[in-house]
């Protein structure tokens, strides 16, 4: 069965939409911990996603599409979230195998590839109060999945959200939050919240 680009398009567009819809929450979180620009940065990055992905159709080569998306994301001036988000998408593009037997296999490949590249760039460990605290648990669900893809993505989204919620109790080891010591306790890491929305959007946008 050939790949279904419209399925991938729907997932990524919905993920970007979930993030865009909650930009104000991201801004407020970043004001508590950082310099207040995470929401602004994510707005810029998701706009690039809309611009790049909206034209995709049934015949789009997904590897080329993801490569172009990476290129466009890398042009955004986006603090640290920009390069980290770009690395995630670059990992998708690198792992994309247009000869994958099914779209579900392709989805799994690109999401695992995204994690690998993100980890190589970010170097953060679970528990450091970063994006990783949402991405890692979601990736583990996807890596070990036995259920169908819709259920798997829903579980991954729950894992990402729960991982992100847990960051409220963590001391930051990366980013600007590490400079405020225990005053960062009680506040969720904004980058992890972004990725909770991202995985929720993937699940919501997955067309059965």
């Amino acid at each position: 069965m050939p790949l279904e680009p419209l399925k991938i398009k729907s997932m990524l567009i919905t993920a970007a939409q979930e993030i865009t819809d909650h930009v104000d929450i991201l801004t407020d979180l970043d004001c508590a911990l950082g310099d207040g620009d995470h929401g602004t940065t994510m707005k810029k990055l998701t706009h690039v996603m809309f611009d790049q992905i909206e034209p995709w159709n049934e015949t789009t080569n997904l590897k080329d599409g993801l490569k172009s998306l990476t290129d466009a994301l890398e042009d955004v001036s986006g603090g640290s979230a920009g390069p980290l988000f770009s690395a995630f998408v670059y990992g998708m593009a690198e792992a994309a195998d247009t000869d994958a037997p099914t779209t579900d296999v392709f989805v799994k490949q690109i999401l695992l590839g995204a994690y690998d590249e993100f980890f190589a760039t970010s170097k953060a460990e679970v528990g450091d109060k970063t994006m990783m605290d949402a991405i890692y648990p979601a990736t583990e669900v996807i890596r070990n999945a036995t259920a169908d893809m819709k259920t798997t993505l829903e579980k991954a989204a729950i894992a990402a959200r729960s991982g992100s919620d847990n960051t409220a109790g963590m001391l930051a080891k990366y980013g600007r939050a590490r400079y405020i010591g225990d005053r960062c306790l009680g506040h969720k890491d904004p980058g992890s919240v972004t990725f909770a929305y991202f995985y929720e959007g993937l699940a919501k946008g997955y067309l059965v």
Partner: protein, 332 residues
Amino acid sequence: MTMKKFINSPDNITAELLEGLALANPSILEVTDHNLIINKGLATADRVTIVTIGGAGHEPALEGFVGEGMIDISVVGDIFAAPGYKAVVEALKLADKGKGVLLVVLNHAGDMLAGDRTMKEVEKLGLNVIKVVTQEDIANAPRSDAANRRGLVGCVPLYKICGAAAAQGKSLTEVAALAQDFADNMATIAVACKTATHPQNGASFADLGEDEMEVGMGQHGEGGGGRQKMASADETAVIMADALLNDLDLKAGEEVMVIVNGTGATTIMEMLLVFRRVHKYLSEKGIKIVASWVEEVLTVQEQAGFQLFFARMDPEKLAFWEAPAKTPYLSR
């Protein structure tokens, strides 16, 4: 929250301020695509060149120090945000006049990611670039843990000293060694008593109380070290000077540069009171101030507060500091 700033569309602030800078200084610099601010003298330069990267919103730094004798290209990101690495690579290609390029990166997460990514491309392209990181904020980590020290105002005197060395024909290896030596012998500590708002979303960074100040405030207004009761200019000067003296292990007989850098809403009047006390305090300790600068150099919007900067000096560095330069915000 309402924000009272003279701006137009929040999304266009960076592009508009860079256009304004170029229009105001047509003989010194120009702005190109990808928000590169370029020294007009670069076209005919036959020497090592200096490139730096960083977000906007800190004016006059960084891009206000582009010009002969300082920065050749400043790669400007959006407000408080690092530029994408592709713009940095483009700047390095433009800047390389066959003698190599010094790339100065301030230690902030986004800038460091862009810098690392850039250096991967530099290797692929075979460009002759040496990267030097400034990380002189003493507030959060000891000297041994440089990775956790932010880059604050210290990059600006470093541009000046390295720019002069390049202008006098030093090689890239020599300029980079000088940059590293200066960076290793500088220290900054910041204080804030009123925080700023982000000009693109009106958000305030922190919630300092009416009677509080915070020593160790970061480049972007993000929280840092200890909050304490608001103190006088003299008291604050001594608290901060002691911290810097201790970090640099400065001894009687040594010579230093001192900068009092206003972060946006602190008056020159207050900064002069602080400098006065620092000068007397160092004199009492037998430390000689051979270079001084009391000015708004690297600001954080309308944050009230200042950064106090010390650097250990020697005759060579002093000569480079005093050498000619022609930039919008530093000329001699």
